[in-house]
Amino acid sequence: MSEVPGEVRDLYPFLYERRAAEQDAGALTEEVVRSAREKAAGIAALRREIATADADRIAACAAAMAKRFAAGGRLFTFGNGGSSTDAQGLATTFLHPPGGPAAGAVVLPALSLTSDAAVVTALSNDVGFDVVFARQLAAFGRPGDIAVGLSTSGGSANVVQALEEAARRGLLTVALAGHHGGRLAQLACLEHLFVIPSDSVHRIQEAQTTVYHVLWELIQQALRAGRGGGR
């Protein structure tokens, strides 16, 4: 290989130099291990914080949702990106509870509005991305149903529009947000809002997962007790 001129080294030092830490591959690994442990501690602390601050409000939301399900309501979920997969995870947990029929959990009607690529791309292409969830709720939603929107920023326009549409149609409106709640925190029609107090999209999503799992657990407890069952 040919010699590299000195001025190139000056211009692109990262190509040729290694910081002291990286001369020892172990040092980088050590740094990564430390960072992973910090994140594990961070999410544990965040969950404790939410349990302390929001326990009563989560219980009230679960009670309101259970009441709707008991009256025949259905659940619609939505979000973007990673939150779209949370919407799917949330819907399938209600529709096909963990453990299958053997576990004896109550199967509840739920649909994620993020799963149908044909509908999402058609609405985005023909009308605009802001309406992809609102339009579906307008078609599916009935008074007595439940709408759950997920947004780590709280600012997703299509989530905000969908919750407004849901409120207009008499659906119970629930949202999970992060940071400071963004536009969702200003949304007067929103009945239940849980804001995860973190600036990390990842930690927000992890804590939101726990919140919707706990909602599911409590709703199961309420509905199982109602049918005189229980495990």
Partner: protein, 278 residues
Amino acid sequence: MWELSDVSANGTGVPVLDGAAVRRAFARRAPAAHGLTRAAPHVAAVCREMAARFARGGKLIVFGNGESGADASHVAVEFMHPVVVGKRALPALALGNDSATLSGVGSDEGFAEVFAHPLRAFADAGDIALALTPDGRCANVRRGLAAARERGLLTVVLSGGDPADAPPADHTLVVGSADPLIVKEVQVTVYHVLWEMTHVFLEAPGDDGTCDTCADRARPMRVRQLLPNGLALAVPEADDDGPPQEISVALVDAAAGCTVLVHGGEAIAMVTTGASDE
């Protein structure tokens, strides 16, 4: 059919849903979360190997069932479209997103083959297979990982429950809880960390001389032919017989026959001025 119990704290019965129930539910989650603290060195080792595969052009293929299927989509979008601005997009896909193939294979070959089939048809030996399962007891995940191992992929599985039930893979990260919901919650943190730390290794100027921002190597290339608009056709110096690639020579005073140092498609310096040097 079921009906609603008395969920109001004002009712005559025992209140079912109150803040205490929520706090108990959160408290149940604390022990499993410590698993990541213990597993951190293993997670770091997985990230290092994943970074090496990405650096060599490998892609990530993710799969799982049920909520783990949604997680597979989450992992794929995490790598493909990072939430942290400035992070490079890495090639990743979730097999569960293709419901046409999923139902087609499931119908013709059985549901146990739904991941193995596309892995055999689409994966390359340099790729990474990442499977998610709450308990390891998924026939299609096991078959998928087996197919991936046969092809030479790096195989990683995030499992839960009894470690003895985890499917065979190069790396197995097991969350110590029998509750699938709690397993999933810890796995979300694990795959977020996998994404973040893979980038840390990828961005570190390591032995392969990859760049901080784009993981491309600067390499000497020989100019075959100058093209209009500051472009040129060039071949890698190390592979003179390889197919010529279009590069930009706008920053250097290049001529046919010279060797230039190319980074990210841009010649950034002259190495030799022409064939006469040889």
